[in-house]
Amino acid sequence: MNIFLGRLAIFITLFATWELSSGPLIDPFFVSSPSEIAGKFYELVISGRLFSHGGITVVETLAGFVLGATVGIGVGLLLGRNELLAKLLDPILVSIYSLPKVALAPLFIMWFGIGIEMKIILTATIVFFLVFLNTYSGVRAVDREQLEILRLMGAREHHLITKVVFPSAIQWVFTGLKLSVPYALIGAIVGEIMASNRGLGYLLQDAAGQLDTAGVFAALVAIIALALLLQAIVRMVETRLMPWKKDLGDREASV
């Protein structure tokens, strides 16, 4: 069976059911309808509001993502190669990690105001932990024998870091990055919902405030599109940086 056609069939069935039952069966006030949402979305695109608000969210997400990922990779490498430091900082990191990061939003609003900075910091905090933990695990998981074999070749610490530790950890780093994409959006969108007059989160909140169900759905569609786009970018960078993994997925599994 052609997977693509199957998916398309499910998609069409779903939307047709939604379209037809909206009105006769369910109050459109709650569920709106695909045609209405499409119209609203088109309106957002034409008026340029989608791009102005979406742009803000993209900037927040990307800046937070890059900031959090950079610091996360750095700290992960540092602690991964320095067991003593890792042990000393463990309680602090565990305490902050166990905190739902969104709970920090009010504090960040107090510190950084309701501007773009607060969303960037919130996003960065969320991304930091995911990337840091994965990088740290990656560095710890480096094959000890592998390192010894390189030492026999005369390798020093900087050789080990550049030739083994970092490339080996990078797969874990990317697992962290891929996990982070939806969470990075949580940071930006929640930040916007809580306090903002710009961004897709604001658009969402604003539409809900006017009881505009189609508007809410249109904003959700925009957020989904953004998430998929970011995910695709991360994947693209991944295959670029790790060409040896490219055709791994195409091969049949073997033991």
């Binding site: 094959d143 024998e145 592998q146 010894e148 074999i149 390189l150 030492r151 026999l152 070749m153 005369g154 390798a155 050789h159 030739k163 083994v164 490339p167 080996s168 990078i170 790790m242 060409p243 040896w244 993994k245 055709d247 791994l248």
Partner: protein
């Protein structure tokens, strides 16, 4: 190398000379590890001397200190008692004149064949042009032409072993320490790799210490076979294998001397295997 061979075939008379010129010497070596505060002895009273150019195979049941022996030659850990002497000097810290190969090939999955072989050359700081030439040479040597740009995940087990061997030879270590490198290969491939190893080590005059579980392999490859036994382990027998340096491993199967030697090793090993089995049961 003829000197080494003579020393092996006439063990009694040449022993003193052999010691004087030995490349690797173990003098009363014992090693214990501390696991959770309890010292556990891995091997004891090992006395051994290996000539340059010799191929020495090491057999014995698991856990009797065969790998420990290799690690001490490589300087990855120091003996608890006694001394390991390499080329007239006590081994202290990583011994850069040795190369290590284990059952897993330890190729870097993010580098292709050329990139993997380049690792030791990059560490040495060899200029790029020279490096390229040397890598081409090595690829030819191990028969990996046409797979220069393949990643380890795209290679078969045998080709990965070849790549690992090329990388090992790239930095030209004097001594090859091999810890069951061919254990995971099928019989035919193993025989081919054995042939390659013997050919290359003879041609490049390498000293080889080769740990294996396979007694046939120990006889086929070695000029000499060390039998380890006991927990903690020690060398219980040092068997010369006078099959000649330029032997054909494929033809060995038809050689009665080969079967005699394998049979002798089996007879010698079986009691120790029985002991080990009983020891485990108790």
């Amino acid at each position: 190398m003829p000197v080494a061979l003579k020393a092996i075939t006439t063990p009694a008379g040449a022993e003193r000379d052999e010691r004087a010129s030995a490349l690797i010497q173990f003098i009363g070596v014992s090693k214990s590890f501390t696991v959770k505060g309890v010292a556990k002895q891995a091997s004891h009273s090992i006395n051994l001397s290996i000539e340059k150019g010799e191929v020495v195979t090491v057999v014995g049941p698991s856990g009797c200190g065969k790998s420990t022996l290799l690690n001490m030659v490589a300087g990855l850990f120091a003996p608890t008692e006694g001394q390991v002497v390499y080329n007239g000097k006590a081994v202290c810290g990583v011994n850069g004149r040795t190369g290590y190969m284990t059952q897993s090939d330890h190729l870097l999955p993010w580098r292709d064949v050329v990139g993997n072989i380049a690792v030791p050359l990059e560490i040495q700081g060899m200029p790029k042009v020279q490096r390229r030439e040397r890598i081409q040479e090595l690829i030819k040597l191990v028969g990996l032409e046409g797979f220069e740009k393949s990643y380890p995940s795209q290679l078969s087990g045998g080709m990965r072993k070849r790549a690992a061997l090329a990388r090992l030879l790239a930095y030209d270590p004097e001594t090859l320490l091999m810890d069951e490198p061919f254990a995971a290969l099928d019989a035919q491939l193993r025989m081919r790799m054995q042939t390659e190893l013997i050919r290359l080590s003879r041609r490049l005059n390498k000293t080889v210490i080769f740990v294996t579980h396979d007694l046939d392999e120990a006889v086929a490859l070695g000029d000499r076979c060390l039998i380890f036994a006991g927990r903690p382990g020690t060398i219980v027998k040092d068997v010369p294998i006078p099959l000649g340096e330029e032997r054909n491993i494929l033809q060995l199967r038809k050689d009665p001397r080969y079967h005699q030697l394998c049979g002798d090793l089996w007879d010698f090993m079986t009691p120790s295997l029985n002991d080990a089995a009983e020891g485990n049961r108790a």
